[in-house]
Symmetry: C2
Subunit: 174 residues, 2 copies
Amino acid sequence: MTDDHRSACPINLSLEVFGDKWSLLIIRDMIFGGKRHFRELLRSQEGISSNILADRLKTLLEIGMLTKSDDPSHKQKAIYSLTEMAIALVPIMAHLGAWGRRYLPVSEELSIRAQLMEEGGPALWERFMDELRAEHLGGSGALDGPSVRQTLQAAYEEVMARKAKELELASAGS
Amino acid sequence: MTDDHRSACPINLSLEVFGDKWSLLIIRDMIFGGKRHFRELLRSQEGISSNILADRLKTLLEIGMLTKSDDPSHKQKAIYSLTEMAIALVPIMAHLGAWGRRYLPVSEELSIRAQLMEEGGPALWERFMDELRAEHLGGSGALDGPSVRQTLQAAYEEVMARKAKELELASAGS
DNA sequence: ATAACTGATATCATTTTGAAAGCAGTTGCA
DNA sequence: TGCAACTGCTTTCAAAATGATATCAGTTAT
């Protein structure tokens, strides 16, 4: 255990954990993208390098935000799982998304999930966290209805489909 | 306007703004510490260097999280003010503090504010934000009763006083 | 057999960080 | 009228982090 912290302030300590440009994006892809494997995480929107990804995964494991296990289907495959510590970031993700959506130049398709999370409020976040616990920590059984992640993903695809259609119509009409 | 973003995802864009170890600490000191001047911000718990502080302030100004004005009392003094964009981070600060308090090795005195923010909930955050608007954006008049910042600060000092007393007693009893 | 896939490492140039000292003024006090 | 303390920075330079690219040894499906 390395204890050389700059200060024991909770905000500072939080930033020491994920105050960089990549750690939270990895968590984001696991939470909202359902990614569990190294090669999946490598295909992020933002194009993370493999050495950076390896380094951050190692750090997140050390901190206790992730755990790693073998994939029975492939001897070289590793499965990364979220711990409660990482699942507890869902409300922060929601707030970050809402803030970014309000003040930064987001695209419609990449912010529709944030919009739904904002509209859903704490009740939706709690449900999402329960689903993540079931998925990553085992224990409780399946939940009824479509998962929060599936609902968010469907909304994303709907926007993409509409945009493709609009583009097609605009192109045909020119 | 530089538009070379890694992606238009709201979480990514948020991290491009304050995904580093210092930017949010500066905002924290302005929000919770009431700091408005360069030399005040230089005296942070974590010991930020003057070059880093200057660089971050410049970036925060460019982004639109802060504004800068002259201090009438001193020709070389600058007053930094929060914009609505920065004041809107109060709920994120509250969540970050709550998360850090739960999962990281915080000290009692530096986390008492986070505890009160968590217990106060959204209603307290809104009141705090109103006070910050009055303080940094002008407009609305004074608010009744002690300010949220004063209440948090008083709680901090109470913990410090108690700890000093305990230390004194322990020392006397040895 | 072989091509594609697995989770990483190695290399190396570029960028960022950060401690420390310094600077050109301004202000308050003797 | 001096002079010390204070103002918001800037400069310098070493060390650390970042990140693109190529590569690796082993595994699996065809």
